[in-house]
Symmetry: C2
Subunit: 394 residues, 2 copies
Amino acid sequence: MTLDSIQFASRFDGVSGSAIREIFKMIAKPGMISFAGGNPALSALPDEKVAELAQKALKENGKAILQYGATEGYPPFLESLKAYAEKQLGCEVTGILPTTGSTQGMDLLCKALINPGDVILVENPSFLGNLQCMNLYQAKLVPVESDENGLMLDKLEEAIIKHHPKMLYTIPTFQNPTGKTLAADRRQPIAELAAKYGMVVAEDDPYRDLRYAGSPIPSIKSYDKEGWVVFLGSFSKIISPGLRVGFMVGDPLILRKCTIGKQSADVHTANLNQAIVDQYLRQDLLPAHIASICQSYKAQMNAMLDELATFPEGTRYTRPEGGLFIWVELPAGIEAKAMLEKAVERHVAYVPGTHFFCDGGHDNTFRLNFSNSTIDQIREGMKILRELIEDAIK
Amino acid sequence: MTLDSIQFASRFDGVSGSAIREIFKMIAKPGMISFAGGNPALSALPDEKVAELAQKALKENGKAILQYGATEGYPPFLESLKAYAEKQLGCEVTGILPTTGSTQGMDLLCKALINPGDVILVENPSFLGNLQCMNLYQAKLVPVESDENGLMLDKLEEAIIKHHPKMLYTIPTFQNPTGKTLAADRRQPIAELAAKYGMVVAEDDPYRDLRYAGSPIPSIKSYDKEGWVVFLGSFSKIISPGLRVGFMVGDPLILRKCTIGKQSADVHTANLNQAIVDQYLRQDLLPAHIASICQSYKAQMNAMLDELATFPEGTRYTRPEGGLFIWVELPAGIEAKAMLEKAVERHVAYVPGTHFFCDGGHDNTFRLNFSNSTIDQIREGMKILRELIEDAIK
């Protein structure tokens, strides 16, 4: 029998793979100015420091690092991670699990909770990697409306009452893809709604340290009395995505299921990678490193916003206080997906906004990343995009 | 609403977590002689070499290593891995995917193929980590009988005709937990049965390089004409389990689904870990390293077999040609699980055999690992086990 007759699992029905990952491949050529992806700047990646820390960790504890570890995490890292997370979240941490990037945290949480057909409430647009994850668990995704301050509480409660969701998936700080931040005064009510209705909140917060203006806002998790909120953290944006180290903070009851799920997902997150981040935290290198990254990213974001101010009338865009992304809405009728081909011809790339909507559409939107381009590249690339939009309007 | 009212996904019904991982925690105290687990010897873990290779890789390509990578793998590693795999499998490799340990390979394969209720044929006993994986995908596991030469072909075809399985899961070489090897002349027929009936074969082969007697046997994959066989490889037993690097070899049609599944599982296997194994392969360090490991493991296995020869009459055990495990069957009526408590009191540990059977039972069996104990420890620990068995027989 030839392999053509193979039957794949029905979880793949309608799932065709990450659009971003496909765009990455399309634009992987020299000279490309990429506003696609969510990559840190190469200059923000501490390669020499990581080499030094890897050396140190392997010298001090090499045998244990190369041996099988506990699914629950590398013991020294659990210690430094807990201290970091408590500071980060502004609350006591009763359960924590290192994950292979925060992407795995989302996967494990869905594994623990989601039966096919279960409803997950999502921001619309939202992070497409995790939309794909939820689709592979055959969840029913129901969008909840946001305004400029993030999720609207009345719409959220309405959706909870109507759809009895198992989970709310939210990126509250410098959201991907919009750059929006959930206002401080909406955070406690969300934790309360979760407890009132028995709904898990997945608080995906990888960008919170990348703040260029305004003041830090408490996590939703910090208002969580009953344990319904699970916080997904990441070191991808502040140390290195290539190391694949993230973590989950949540009630031990939920994390126990995630741990069992992780046993057969990858046994444990590689010890060396946990040990490197452990060293980073233990030597308190993060504050200075984040300050330095933020200084550059702020200048890059402002350069991009300056360029956007010169775009044709009718172009709308967000003005984030941090993170990696600006969200652009073109005058109706301009198709960002069609324009991408022309942009790539001229060596500029972005991600069409439609991919971020669980129900598609919104063809006149796109997402811009500013962290992975120099200010000169931002000026040059944005000029090209402006020209393409002007052409499209004519 | 308190968290007690949370409803976990039904995939967890009846799944209580890896017995081995729980036993690990129970025995994590100083002075324990552990025949549980499948850990390499600490002396077999090349910590100084890995430190050197990590340094070299980060120096040469640090920025790319710390940046996001492709789900499909770190490019230099793909090159060296393909060459390694072709030698290892004895056939051309048309599709390859680095995974976060071969455990992830199994997870991705189930994700790609298994709907709840789909039948997977398994050896009985089999590796419990992957039994748990298949259970979490809600597969129906159907055992197929083995004799001393591995899976019995007539029983296998009978089961295929009766159960229309989606997949066969087999560990053909130095099987976990029995140490048995599927005979050379059964391998081509299995590849042919797979193609005849349209069944995927998951060939999980992490131990094949650890051979202490006899000659290498071709992989099932090397007889695969139509692409139904997926080979799961691992560097855990020959370099380091803590690094979490494995790989899948299979038809691009199947690997494409696995790649999409991996996008939302962990985006990609950490680049640094791929780069370290790449350096290991590229510098051709593996042959000498494996030769050195095998020399020690062979002596350890023989010491354990020598001790077993002195065990009470009625004790049966396998005599493997390689791998990490010996399988012991006690006289009927002796409960290996009850005996474990007494053994742990006397600082000796093993894994009761019942955990490896998809349908339980076989309470008089247990698995012994010899790689992670010195010869003195093996003598001492086996003496204690012999005494406990003698006491149990009285």
